[in-house]
Symmetry: C2
């Protein structure tokens, strides 16, 4: 059974998709538009929505000497993910609710509480996309001139996860007695302290919250660098990655599942769901026409700016745009995405400007243009050949392309028996087929 | 016009109220019970709900050598306030949504985002109760063995507020153009950087969020110490305080309004709303019987434990319970509450155990027991004699006492013209009569 996540990256994952006549770019700030998107994804029986986040205005760190802010054509302002998910829990019934929160600029106690709270409010549908902050833009909002180094970020993230997961086990089953007759509100023997003392954190606990319906909210991870894969293999229930080549995807899949096994985990409990953007038409010609329309909206200047953010000290603007993509100096930012771009460019002989356009089109994720049948052919090939367990669907804009996927592609997936026709369970863990973890403190007592 | 806030302190502000036969103590963790409470308060046309918060299990820091955790009879676990308010925004239409978030263990950028997001989701009903963390229990969850000193906490809070308020002005009116034809998503001249560099924080900005419907979410403050009053006078739209003596309340009111004037503010824009617990009966006898029922549930041991938390190094258990309350050594915790207790005990000749029971009954807040007429007599006297602008209503348990207030007391307030019969406006600022502040960056440009 294939798994599907609907990526929420308002106003769209195509950098100029919001300019399309069908696009509703107000979905960046309008709660009612988020409701519409979540309900469409739920109608399509998606496992979850998946809300990306950055704790800065992208590009705001770019001092160019003239204007302080280099406007990017798109994603600038949007609702804060954890408050948004909590509100969406009320207007949806089954779909999972995953949001990004960085381990770089938060405290474990606060993050543990917020996601556990969403899990209670949604009756077991919460997920935390654990990331390390990638862009220098964010550092300036949290007291730092420069970003924490890549290795240190991951070290902090590993410890951050350990603290959060332990906090989620603070309350044993039945810890809240609430016995009116005796006056005993809690059973102290079922309240567990963490007493964590590590390099980055010192947290006594317990969390002031009953254990949540899923035991732990689902944990997702998007890191695809070496340290990112290690973290994912050890901690993640769902992995969002960027793969556009079948062979590479198979290698990544095999590698990550083997790492999970090394960490003593059942590899089938780590769902690998690479990003995928689809542009669907009733005919091949219609799909290609839609694709051309979207590409016509792209600005090369804006695409180059997106690429420049991944070039570190290399001044990409100084090179002829039609020359081959040079090796990118591995920066302190998103190393896995840099490697993905270089591999893709090498494989397909992409020039600098072609690479930039690829990035501007689908955030550097796999793009499929065609009829539902052709798109499902490829999706089927990927899930049946050990390249992935499902996909994280990117929408060029909202809500029309997501509606088209739900109305045209999902039925074809269902017809072939590749995807559920209705939800079987109630929690996100149910949908993913990932069991509720035992409470660590209660194993020890048993 | 009187203002009313419904204090949310699940499972009840009376420390044993949850044991009452009518009580639903599951309101601590059950979202559906919070919905019920919020909807009752909205039916009663309350200005706002007001959710108290602590980032620890109360009493968890008490090492007694035997069990690690000294159970308090009551408040232990509950939903996280910002996610809860966001979800409640969807099931209410008009009532304000205020939650506590500490300045001691958060980052300004994260707090600014969450409350602005709730303001967008609720169409202008969000409020942030800005506090400094009071209890040692919290320190252990955030890397510290001991709590930040009182003065330093307030210094940090002052700067924290300044950064948050500035971040809320990041986007000017019309900053998000979203012009499909030109491809201009934003107007860079309307995106404002903070470039804050202070003793505690360094924050560049801008916030990645359009300015919210209220301009700024309402800011509330509960500090009643000297530094607490200064912070409130400078920053708060609503002040929650503990006053149970008319004369003292008048003095506090006059003092705080004068301080607001000194800060260049219109004193009528700072609403002072002391805590009030009511126990209502159709007759005086019925009300008194209800009060006795509730008092019969109190445990002296538990009440003494509540008092002990406010006694610092003084071992209150070593003193005879019937002796007069001794001077409490002003601790690093809640100094204003300590003073309030000492004043009350001196005024009414309360013994240690009587003071403890007072604390256990209403969290140390003003208690009125009687018929709707008698209760409204006192409320009217307070608002018409310059003691307050309204009240923050504490419920001994949920939801019945709140329902009784709405069904019995609110109509009497309305009959006397003291309280609205329906909402006139849509935002929390509308309800409070506190105007939308101008955007600081746009005044400068004008």
């Amino acid at each position: 059974m294939m798994h599907l996540a609907a990526f929420l990256f308002t106003p769209g994952s195509h950098s100029a998709g919001w300019r399309h006549p069908d696009a509703v770019p107000e979905c960046d700030m309008e709660f009612s538009e988020y409701v519409r998107i979540a309900q469409v994804a739920e109608r399509g029986k998606f496992d979850t929505i998946f809300f990306q986040d950055t704790v800065a205005v992208n590009g705001s760190g770019a001092l160019d000497g003239v204007s302080r802010y280099r406007p990017s054509q798109g994603r600038t302002a949007y609702l804060e993910p954890t408050t948004l998910l909590a509100a969406l829990a009320v207007v949806t019934q089954r779909i999972g609710l995953v949001a990004t929160a960085t381990t770089t600029y938060n405290e474990p106690y606060n993050i543990a509480r917020r996601f556990a709270s969403i899990d209670h409010i949604s009756n077991g549908r919460a997920g935390w996309n654990l990331v390390t902050s990638q862009i220098e833009d964010e550092a300036g909002n949290f007291g730092a001139d420069h970003h924490m180094l890549h290795a240190e970020r991951y070290e902090r993230a590993e410890e951050f996860y350990d603290v959060v997961a332990a906090l989620w086990d603070s309350f044993g089953e039945g810890a809240l007695i609430r016995d009116k007759a005796s006056g005993n509100y809690i059973d102290p023997s079922k309240i567990h302290f963490q007493d964590h003392v590590g390099k980055h954190f010192k947290v006594r606990g317990p969390l002031n919250m009953a254990r949540c319906p899923q035991g732990r909210p689902v944990v997702t991870q998007a890191g695809s660098s070496g340290p990112g894969m290690e973290l994912a293999a050890r901690t993640a229930d769902l992995v969002f990655t960027a793969q556009s080549d079948l062979g590479e995807a198979q290698a990544f899949y095999k590698d990550l599942k083997a790492r999970a096994r090394k960490h003593g985990r059942d590899p089938s409990h780590v769902k690998i769901m690479p990003g995928l953007m689809t542009i669907v038409g009733a005919t091949e010609a219609e799909a290609q026409a839609k694709y051309r329309d979207l590409q016509g909206l792209l600005s090369d200047e804006n695409s180059m700016r997106l690429l420049a953010r991944l070039c570190g000290d290399l001044d990409i603007f100084a090179l002829p745009p039609d020359s081959p993509l040079p090796p990118l100096p591995l920066s302190n930012a998103a190393q896995a995405r840099q490697r993905h771009l270089m591999d893709k460019a090498a494989r397909e002989n992409l020039s600098i400007i072609q690479t930039a356009r690829y990035l501007g089109t689908s955030l550097g994720h796999h793009l499929l243009v065609g009829t539902p049948q052709r798109i499902v052919d490829t999706m089927e090939q990927w899930v049946t050949s050990g390249a992935c367990d499902g996909f994280t669907l990117l929408s060029p804009h909202y809500p029309r392309p997501l509606e088209q996927f739900v109305d045209l592609v999902v039925p074809e997936l269902q017809r072939r028996g590749l995807f559920r026709t209705d939800y079987a369970g109630h929690t996100l863990r149910d949908h993913l087929g990932v069991p509720v973890p035992p409470n660590r403190y209660e194993i020890a007592n048993a």
